[in-house]
Symmetry: C2
Subunit: 219 residues, 2 copies
Amino acid sequence: MSPAPPTPAYRRLSVEERRAQLLDAALSLFAHRAPEEVSLDDVAEAAGVSRPLVYRYFPGGKQQLYEAALRSAAEELRHCFDEPHEGPLLPRLARALDRYLAFVDGHGAGFTALLRGGSVAETSRTTAIVDGVRRAAAEHILSHLRATDPGPRLRMTVRMWITAVEAASLIWLDEGKQPPAGELRDWLVEQFTAVMGVTAARDEQTAALVRRVLASEDG
Amino acid sequence: MSPAPPTPAYRRLSVEERRAQLLDAALSLFAHRAPEEVSLDDVAEAAGVSRPLVYRYFPGGKQQLYEAALRSAAEELRHCFDEPHEGPLLPRLARALDRYLAFVDGHGAGFTALLRGGSVAETSRTTAIVDGVRRAAAEHILSHLRATDPGPRLRMTVRMWITAVEAASLIWLDEGKQPPAGELRDWLVEQFTAVMGVTAARDEQTAALVRRVLASEDG
């Protein structure tokens, strides 16, 4: 009998690879269970490694692992917003939303637990991570709109829309991912133009941006 | 020398009155500080009573007091939605928003801490209290729209708008309550009609409601 192939537990990984492997395992568990229901044992088992090894990488235990997983998810979320500053604006927004919804789709329960808060693992540090992603999303949108010095009404509109998108994605997960992602994406883009239109009637800066967006969509 | 007048500490209050007095004191402290920065000593001092008395009413300590204050604030918030089912719909929404913004104005930091989560006092129970208010708000709106069997698109639209209103009120507090409450209220009502209009183009139930709302505004 030839020897069994080495299991993932004994494969030699660099420190960074091992860390990434453990975070991946943790994220996939958080995708299906609330953080407080995931133990270090579960993570060790999912990654095919020993519990002491998980502790060696995350000596702070569950809370440290959860925060690291959250940071890694936040990083991934930020990449959804990477979109070249080229071409008509609304298709750019639609592409970013496609990536965002794919992320929500892939991280399900973990995403919900993160945004809903109220988990035992929630702290002001985890809230700051989530708020950082929200701020990044708002800055991306304002930069695509080429709003270099956005006034309060424009900023509020963008931030409200981002919160509404978050709410939509939580409800979407609750409702078995209905309507289909493509339809939800179009609907969210339409809401963006609608609320921008409402603000444009009250704010000259927003009105000028909306005119430019409309012109760019024609081009 | 005549004896000093009795301080509030020694005034005879019924159990219910005393409890309400302590919750009022706690809420006014939460309005200016994050829950984790409020001690039972502070509440005792604000209410003019002894610390043991606060403990007698809230033997579970700070967490129990915080949850009771939250429940009392949630109850007050729910009253904002009490609006007779009479007359044109948008003015009803505007009146409910006026009461809501007055509540946000009065409870400032406590409201922020509550909705932002991330406080050490945040638990799944406190989250459930906040979610209960959100659900109540959605049900009120749907009942005013006379949507007895609201479909997923209509419900999602209403819930997204409610989340956007929450976001707006947090930003409003952050920005020194600008724009003025009356302008913010009108803007939020306009956003409501705009997002309902967007959904109406995708959903026959919402379209029928929007037509009825428009008709009622004419009446």
